[in-house]
Amino acid sequence: MRSSVSRLSLWLLLTPFLLWIVLLVLLPHLQMLRVSFQVRESWDTLTWGLQQYQNFFTESYYWRTFVRTGVMSLFTTFLTLIIAFPIAWYIARLARGRSKGILFMACLIPFWASELVRTYGWMILLRESGLFSSWLQALGWVDGPVEMLYNDVAVIIGLVYNGLLFMVVPLVTTLDGMDENLVEAGYDLGGGHGTVLREIVVPWAMPSIVSGCIVVFMLTLGSYLTPVLMGGKDSAWFTEQIFTQFITRFNWEQGAALGVLLLVLSSVIVWLGLKVSGQSLRKVMG
């Protein structure tokens, strides 16, 4: 009797979970995969084929953007980590009492605004008629308006800004839980700043470094607003192409293929990241 009750409760709890995962995650993605292999011969005839994938490789515009998006996302992730680590260290280990809480809250502030608002803020600052341009002119450093928007640097500034929160928070949490004696023991046994950082602090923070990097990378790779609004003519982002296929060209087959490729790219890079750092998805995200 005991086992039948627990079996019933297991199924009661398992059902919503399975509905969610199967109906919203698994089936849609399988269908997307299927559609990506369908070739439209006329308006109502479909055959199987690799046409969309061939398009991707033959059309240099596609794969160039693809590679560019991947590389820039990796670079952004790395930059975010480098910028966030000293901040997280300060909040977790050097700040005390009230200032600690206040600084931590301050890091969360950008999250109170959506990506759109944040990007908009940067546009007001960077564009030709923007604040930086006006200030530079007022200071007399430049003669005319300067356009700082619509280039890759602007895109990266915006992307790093979007990702910082997701890097700082896990880092602060882990570094805060580190026993200070570990670091003291490191120095006590003759280690220098570099050794202690490399051999004690970074290994300790590794799970949060990896989880921060995964989240930031995913956000960057999948971001749409920032590259579209802040990027220039030559700085296309891969998500834009997916968007174009679906929304403006109604070419679902091609869009699905590009979607599958983006998914493969993100999965491979996340998997590689986990392998190289020796972490597991469960440990890092759960």
Partner: protein
């Protein structure tokens, strides 16, 4: 590097400068956006022309000197409608995600069954799928299904056409994972002995759950709800793929922004920031009590 290890003056100075620069970087875009919501000029840029509340309250009528009227946020029907659509979407997403989060948390923290590790990984999956793809796949599956059914039998399944239902579904896909993680983290810290103590004092398992376990989870449920609401309200990548004729706020703002920026956008942005901040403070105030 830590307090007990001596550092040089120069290092401290540089570190402090870096911190200041970092927080300026964080605050500047938001600050600028907020300030220009009150600039008495048609474009959100310098020079400062004086303080005005027009971008909130102007009703679009011609002003005394006969110049073209401004339409403030509270008279802008398009934006207000989009705000309402977003609120409705966020409400449903919050409800479904938090309910799923509770059920999943119990499933993964309290029950033991075969294949649990695998299912847990499936649960984490939406976190490593780009938002755009989540939107695209749901569009392809459900809208495609609606198309096929319409073509084959002439039955119109409008729920599965781009629109509010699909947007809610798309957002729930990943927000449910986040709320599961928040609630499960709290449940993990729950001492199962408390439930046993309740049983021991005569409570049935159901009563024990409602009198002991649920009150323990409540702070995390509120936290997850606030997070889900904000995430839903601010989401763009998934939403834009699934939205139909009634556009939610972020999509509406994006369309406006492409036409050109006006201080009304700043006004909306500031309103959103204040709203999020209030919600965050509310939840934090609750959980610290």
């Amino acid at each position: 590097m830590i307090r007990s290890v001596p550092r040089s003056r120069l290092f401290d100075g540089l570190y402090l400068a870096y911190l200041v620069a970092f927080f300026v970087y964080l605050a500047l875009p938001l600050l600028v956006t907020a300030v220009f919501a009150f600039n008495d000029a048609p474009f959100p840029s310098l020079p400062w022309k004086g303080f005005t509340l027009d971008w909130y309250f102007a009703d679009g009528s011609y002003s005394a000197d006969g110049s073209a009227g401004r339409t403030g946020l509270f008279h802008d029907d398009g934006l207000l409608r989009a705000l309402w659509v977003s609120a409705k979407i966020a409400f449903w997403v919050t409800l479904v995600s938090v309910a799923l989060g509770c059920v999943n948390a119990v499933l993964f923290e309290r029950l033991h069954f075969r294949g649990k590790e695998f299912l847990y990984l499936l649960m984490l999956l939406p976190l490593v799928i780009p938002g755009v793809i989540l939107g695209v796949s749901i569009l392809v599956f459900y809208s495609g299904m609606a198309n096929d059914i319409s073509a084959a039998w002439g039955i119109e399944l409008d729920v599965f056409r781009p629109g509010m239902t699909l947007v809610v579904m798309g957002q729930v896909t990943f927000i449910a994972t986040l709320s599961t993680l928040v609630i499960a983290a709290r449940l993990r810290k729950f001492d199962p002995q408390l439930e046993e103590a309740a049983l021991n004092l005569g409570a049935t398992p159901l009563v024990a759950w409602f009198t002991v376990t649920l009150p323990w989870l409540l702070p995390s449920i509120f936290g997850a709800a606030a997070m889900a609401f904000l995430m839903s309200f601010e989401n763009f990548n998934t939403t834009v793929m699934l939205t139909g004729s009634d556009t939610p706020l972020t999509v509406a703002l994006f369309n406006r922004l492409r036409e050109g920026s006006t201080p009304v956008l700043n006004a909306v942005a500031l309103l959103l920031m204040v709203g999020s901040a209030l919600l965050a403070l509310l939840v934090m105030g609750r959980s610290s009590r």
